[in-house]
Amino acid sequence: MKKKVFATFLATALTVTSIVGCGGSTSTPAPAAGGDDTAKTEAADTTTETSTEATEEKADTAESTDSADATTDSATGKQTDGKNLPELTTEPLTITLWDIATEDPAKSNQEGAVQRFMADYPNITVNQVHQQNDNYKQQLVVAMSSGQAPNMYIHWGGGPMAEYYKSGFANDITDMYAKYDHPDFIDAAVAQSTYDGKMLAIPFGGLSGCDIFYNKTIFAEQGIEVPETIDDLEAACAKLKEAGYTPFALANASKWTGSMYYMYLVARHSGNDEFDAAYTQENGGSFTSPAFIYAAEKIQDWVKKGYFPDGVNSLTADDNQDRALLYDGSAAMMLHGSWQVAGIRSDNEEWYNENIGVFRFPEDSEAKAAGVPQNVEIGTAIGNGFSFNCFKEDGSVDQDMLDACYVLATQYFNDDTYNKMQMDSGNIPSIKGFDTQVDDPNNKVVVDVFFNASNVQLWYDQYLPASVTEVHKNCMTELFGLEKTPEEIGQEQDEAMQKAIAEQ
């Protein structure tokens, strides 16, 4: 009895949260606009081209406002009316969707998107499951190996996305993406949703940059300017250290945190060239090439000078031990993902406003003089992407379902309501035009860095094949622990990479 009461209570609570995020639309089942395909395709193509330029020029609102999302949310029609989209089935259809939105606000926002979709297409049921982030990869493996894979699921791109595709759990949506309307995603997001020339995912999680958060109060007290070059940064570190501060708050037990320093130093020293070469291990590419050695040596030099906290390899980012070092005023800077803006702000908004500033990773002046681009940035342009697993028993594509998933992912996730809520919670959609709508000064920096990037390199630990990721992460421990030399670390990663390539 009691069990039932609580179940009902919970269900009610869920429904309430979902309704809150719901747009006002009635459930008149009208066919979605099919439209003139060829014309639209051309139109879509031109949009892409122009907005590519637009990004480079960092153009204003008018140019890049997302056309697909200029929703006419009238009280009678669907929010997809009048758009160039596949016509969805009128038969009953159930879609299983897996996300990792266990926590508000992401939870209510993503449930809201699904609710709006189901209200517009009452014959389609979306079975939305919130998985826990920690064990999500395991859950997917278990479900996929048992023939119970969800029809639409979140992932972070990179190596795993390729693996899902190769194993037959991700539809190739290149043609659909070219043919139908979709939000005008930034190029980096499209690139990170693509593997082997095929579009495999629709981004929806917003972009995450990687920048240096710093304590404005400490910088002012020490008379330190925001560093423009790595030399400036080192000078600032020396000064901070002198004054008794730990220059960088880093919790490297998590390993991907230390990797951020490594990735950025490599990127500043060589753009994307050396990493790309090391990734393929062709044409002399290697993790022992100059940029990698430079990055590793720099880091070890900084470790020796005490620029990182004591016991850096024992602190974990998952337990917010790096943030703790900023909060208690013992550390002055922290290179981290831009989600920290939202995180710190929600911990204490007042403190955040008073103390936290952001700057982009300083430039390598020597490399710059040698012509190396200084705007290759690290981060993720898709944040989270949805891939679709819509296949029939015989292995052929279940087009009805795929169409429905496509519409859900492009038009309900990524719609105005959704994006507004994303912005409110500090996530910037990876859609052109949103760079101009950012209020928070720190987020503004993050977005500017991102939108000015010539290329955004996805985190190594997501980009590399999973077996190499493990080695790379261990190397980060050894690097910061001064247990291995830069060369040894490079060789270890080379070996792992070669092994992974051989196994392909």
């Binding site: 990869k137 395991q138 997917l140 493996v141 278990v142 996929m144 190996s145 894979a149 795993p160 693996e163 899902y164 190769k166 194993s167 037959g168 759990f169 490297n252 037990a253 390993k255 906290p309 004591d310 016991g311 850096v312 390899n313 024992s314 602190l315 974990t316 337990d319 031990q321 703790a324 070092l325 208690d328 013992s330 999973a466 077996s467 990721t469 493990e470 992460k473 261990n474 190397c475 421990t477 050894e478 622990g481 247990e483």
Partner: protein, 303 residues
Amino acid sequence: MDKSNNMGLAQAKARSTAKAATVFLLPALLLITIFIVYPVVDTFVISGYKWNGISADRIFVGLDNWKALLKDAMFWKSFKHNLIVMVFSILLQIPIGMLLATFLDAGGKKFNIFKIIWFLPYLMSSVAIAFLFIYALATNGGIISSLATIFNGKRTTIDLLGTAPNALYTVIGVMAWQFTPFYMVYFIAGYGNIDTTIYEAAVIDGATRGQYIRLIAIPLLGPIFKTACTMSLIGSLKYFDMIWNMTQGGPSGSTELMATYMYKLSFQQFNMGYGSCVAAGMFILITAIALLFNKVFKVKEDY
């Protein structure tokens, strides 16, 4: 005639014993077969394939995974870690658990408050334990480093979780913290199970309680002691939970155990075939060690 009748009786008795045994054992065997034996067999089968864990195609590779396993430095390193954990778990958890139980047994009911508080760690989930110890052992503001700073008179950092040799022993300590209370309760029950007439007889013979415990009770606890060791042994050879939450096998693989290694391969690195091989190898090693342990112990028990 007489003899055959006897034989018949003996046979009938054996048959009825077999029947009774079957009835009693059936439910357990059924459940174990479905939920454990079958998956184990499956694991052995998968260990013969190259398989990413999700794809429909598996490539049969025969004994390739096993050959690789024999040469896999990481596997043997994690096995070595498991052995260290095992030795120290037995050396720490069982004697301390025994001491605590003896203390409580000697003190009787008025020591209940000790019993309750001492038991607390076992009630906590691994998530909570991992979190609390990560902070308690932190180089920045953790208990150990703070104490060291006080005693040393200057800022001292003791990095227990971030450096290779320390981390494993730290984790062993935390495991002992978590599991010792269980062995304490286990030994209390063991004491409770000893026939009280033995105690009475000892008292009549003029033994003090201490003598009774040392000379009579502890030897009588032999079998209980042995099962406790076996449990600790197996438990520490397949340990996963708290280590996963605390170090994920780091720093640089220094707390990698067979189970964490297997988990990473199977579920994070798309290498289910080899991961299953690791699991199967782990199963064989643990069983072998447990059997060996029981054999060695049996000899001693016979005196």
